[in-house]
């Protein structure tokens, strides 16, 4: 708790000292973060399985917005395309093909709620303490990041970041990329074998 208070105090002073403190980005962050946390809590507590999938959309969309704030445009658009356009649709599809009653279902939770709350809180405290201890009030600095990628001109930096992702995938990380293709092929065949009726 004291760590958190110290962090908040540091945030307050940083805001006055550091002239690059970006107010609009922080407002967007705060609003999106509140929406995401509320939606994530609803996903794990709601009594209607389709509502859970729809709350999940807000969580995943919010993650996409966070990627945009972190200047990862390509990852953000991939998040919208794959997570919202495909994964959530698949989940909704699976739910509606099996059992999706309107209204409240009572059999969605087991009786491990105290264990779940305990595990969640312990993890939250441990991770929160570790993060505040190690990173304190470190600032994100996109200029240093861009110049490390050789993108000093702000006009071309955004395109360069997308290009840098491409260079990464097809350069340094080519072998993992090929592994992913094999994995996707295996998953495709596996899903067909599991789902076919014969």
């Amino acid at each position: 708790m004291t760590g958190l208070v110290a962090l908040l105090a540091q945030v307050g002073t940083e805001a006055q000292v550091d002239t690059t403190f970006d107010v609009p980005a922080n407002v967007v962050f705060a609003v999106t973060a509140v929406f995401m946390i509320v939606a994530a809590l609803r996903v794990v507590t709601t009594k209607n399985i389709v509502h859970a999938a729809l709350w999940l959309i807000i969580v995943l969309g919010g993650v996409g917005v966070q990627y945009l704030l972190l200047q990862a445009e390509f990852v953000a658009v991939t998040q919208f395309l794959v997570y919202l356009g495909a994964i959530v649709v698949l989940i909704l599809f699976g739910v509606m093909l099996t059992r999706a009653p309107l209204g409240v279902s009572t059999d969605l939770d087991n009786d491990l709620k105290p264990l779940g709350i305990g595990a969640g809180l312990v993890l939250a405290v441990v991770m929160g303490f570790a993060l505040i201890q190690s990173f304190g009030a470190d600032q994100l600095d996109f200029r240093a990041y861009d110049s490390a990628l050789g993108l000093d001109d702000p006009q071309t930096a955004a395109a360069g970041r997308t290009g840098a992702v491409a260079d990464g995938i097809f350069g340094q990380y080519l072998i993992p990329f090929e592994m992913i293709s094999v994995l996707l092929l295996a998953a495709l065949i596996g899903a067909i074998v599991l789902a076919r009726r014969d």
Binding site: E73, V89, F93, M96, L97, T162
Partner: protein
């Protein structure tokens, strides 16, 4: 970035964006209305040897306004057992997905709401969000025909999302960019074996991609011959069956605005977009005026192709539709990508 001079006025970034959004929205609704009048009212009438609407305005040109007025007066009914909130939210999700597609489509050297570096990728990503609205509508209506229609729509839209995206990859390889302005410039500045009289519209080198793209667009729009999700004779009207009044109007607008959006994307990717070939030597100043007209004409003509197919072809069976996507279109578009890459490296 902070301010640009437009017509002698200094405008802040948010003012520019507001103007762009307003102008873009007006143009979108006008184009959609024009397309509905031109094709849904008149074109189909002439194909069926009748006159179509003639009473409201000259040649029935104000018929659409009369129809909108009729829908706005109707009572907005929701089924008693429906999930009312999601039932009301679903049309908004579909409409938002449509409007977001227009954000990245350029209509001139500077006439684009947001010139994203991942432009075409973004447009395809947001176009895939409409299926969430369809599934929400089908489930929340508390009607088994709605749910079956939504499940058919879900399966169909997921299946045709793949050829839609894969057919665009060929163009992206040719242009070397995901940005739609770069793709337009690549076509205007290109040359066919050294001859630059008409630039290099990608429909010539990517004809297979163009055909796959238009078939996939037809399926994404759930237009006949791919209209199983809203098949009247089997499912009444699919996921739209419980909707009335303004919510049905929203679905109607979204359907035709999406047709315009996909046609505008197709004309940008394959027909050169707003730009004229660079060898014609028309300056940027004139292109501010010619560009929007140019892409509007191309888009309206491509919507005509979509409607031509819609009114001419009978409906597929569900298994034929899935077989066409997975066994024909996806392998063809993958082969197209491989061949395009080989030719790109070879030449």
């Amino acid at each position: 970035m902070s301010s640009t001079v437009l017509l002698g006025l200094e405008l802040a970034y948010w003012q520019q964006t507001a103007i762009r959004v307003l102008v873009g929205l007006t143009a979108l609704l006008l184009l959609t209305g024009g397309v509905v009048y031109l094709y849904l009212f008149k074109f189909v009438s002439f194909m069926q040897s009748r006159l179509g609407p003639m009473e409201a305005g000259p040649f029935g040109s104000l018929q659409l306004l009369a129809e909108v007025g009729k829908w706005l007066q109707k009572e907005d009914i929701a089924p008693d057992r429906a999930d009312k909130f999601i039932f009301g939210l679903a049309p908004a999700v579909v409409l938002a997905s449509t409007f977001l597609m227009f954000v990245v489509i350029p209509a001139g050297p500077n006439a684009v709401i947001a010139d994203l570096h991942t432009g075409i990728y973004f447009a395809l990503a947001v176009s895939s969000l409409s299926v969430i609205g369809v599934l929400m509508a089908g489930w929340a209506s508390a009607n088994k025909y709605s749910l079956m229609g939504a499940l058919r729509a879900g399966g169909q839209l997921i299946a045709y999302e793949l050829p839609l995206i894969l057919s665009v990859v060929g163009v992206v390889i040719m242009a070397g960019s995901l940005n739609l302005q770069d793709i337009v410039a690549a076509q205007a500045n290109g040359a066919i074996f050294g001859w630059d009289g008409i630039g290099n519209p990608f429909i010539l080198s990517q004809f297979v991609g163009f055909v796959i793209f238009m078939i996939a667009v037809q399926a994404e729009l759930t237009q006949s011959p791919f209209d199983m999700p809203i098949a009247e004779s089997e499912l009444v009207a699919g996921y739209q069956v419980e909707y009335s009044g303004i919510k049905f109007l929203v679905y109607f607008i979204a359907e035709f605005a999406t047709a315009v959006a996909f046609a505008a994307i197709a004309s940008t990717l394959f027909l050169g977009g707003w730009d004229l070939p660079a060898s014609w030597g028309i300056g940027d100043g004139a292109m501010h005026v010619i560009g929007p007209i140019n892409i509007s004409i191309k888009a309206v003509l491509l919507v005509g192709v979509v409607f031509w197919a819609r009114f001419s072809l009978p409906r597929f069976r569900e298994d034929q539709l899935q077989a066409l996507a997975w066994k024909v279109l996806i392998p063809l578009s993958l082969a197209n990508i491989v061949l395009t890459s080989i030719f790109k490296v070879a030449f």
